[in-house]
């Protein structure tokens, strides 16, 4: 699960993420792929929801939430 305070840069970086795939790889493969994605290294992602809420409140910004399958 990823959280970001909304900025144009964050949007652009997220949009550079890989396209959807037809096959469903294993969780380990997905994890490796996600950790290798450029946007994860460059975007100011927060992975703690409470931290994202606090930062959004302090900075008076919206949160761009990217909720992955594990948490649904």
């Amino acid at each position: 699960m990823r959280f970001a305070i909304v900025t144009p840069t964050a949007l652009a970086l997220l949009a550079a993420s890989p396209a959807a795939q037809d096959q469903q790889p294993s969780q380990d493969e997905l994890l490796a792929k996600e950790l290798a994605a450029p946007f994860l290294k460059l975007a100011p992602w927060l992975t703690d929801y409470d931290e994202a809420l606090a930062a959004a409140k302090a900075q008076q910004r919206l949160i761009f939430a990217y909720l992955t399958t594990v948490n649904h």
Binding site: M1, V6, L62, T68, T69, N71
Partner: protein
């Protein structure tokens, strides 16, 4: 499925069920949230692009601006906010009707838009209540076909089920003209929702085959 969860088990456990709790749907679920965790706008999974994210970001800011203006007594902002919340599927019909009654006036355009969006919600409720009951679905289809012909007409974003039940009714009744009318609506729906996917092409192809059969002499 684009991504898995990269966090530790402990962190994953902390966030377990968060998507459901927020009401965010889709895999992955993408949404703009306020600092209190309220979902302002969800982004559908059909398309992910910079242009799309920026469009939804602007939409989220617009909703919040309308909300602030509505709280200050701006009737136009209140109407715009209600329309936007309905478009974002953030309200059930009962809640929306309460909010609508609180509007002191509506312009012609606002009234028309609110009417069709509330009709969409009512149709959704009726379709859910009908479930897979064939007789109830066909009865709904007959009524919805009448709505197509005489009004009121739902919005272009009405549930695909609206078109399904019209087609089911017309196929059972041997009504080729009605089926063709339903198929036109289904075409619009598929164009708006399938993003060119194979299921959409297959669905329309199946419907066209049924229409040809209905129009053939003796239905063959």
């Amino acid at each position: 499925m684009l991504f898995c969860h990269p966090e530790s088990d402990a962190t994953a456990a902390k966030h377990k069920g968060l998507g459901k709790q927020l009401g965010v749907v889709g895999l992955p679920g993408i949404a703009f949230l306020t600092a209190t965790g309220e979902v302002v706008v969800q982004i559908p999974a059909s398309e992910h692009s910079v242009a799309q994210f920026e469009r939804y970001a602007a939409r989220a800011h617009q909703l919040l601006a309308w909300r602030a203006a509505a709280a200050g007594g701006d009737g136009r902002a209140a109407a715009a906010l209600l329309i936007a919340q309905l478009e974002e599927r953030q309200l059930d019909r009962a809640a929306a009707e309460v909010l609508r009654r609180a509007l002191h006036d509506e312009t012609g355009d606002e009234k028309a838009r609110l009417d069709e969006l509330l009709l969409d919600l009512r149709i959704g409720e009726e379709l859910r209540a009908a479930g897979s009951d064939r007789a109830v679905r066909r009865a709904l289809g007959a009524r919805y076909l009448g709505m197509l012909r005489h009004g009121p007409v739902p919005s272009p974003d009405v549930s695909r089920g609206f078109w399904y039940v019209i087609l089911e009714h017309c196929e059972a009744a041997g009504d080729a003209d009605g089926f063709a009318a339903g198929l036109e609506g289904m075409r619009v729906n598929v164009a708006r929702t399938s993003n060119g996917a194979e299921w959409g092409r297959q669905l329309l192809s199946d419907c066209e085959a049924k229409l040809a059969k209905l129009r053939a002499p003796n239905g063959r």
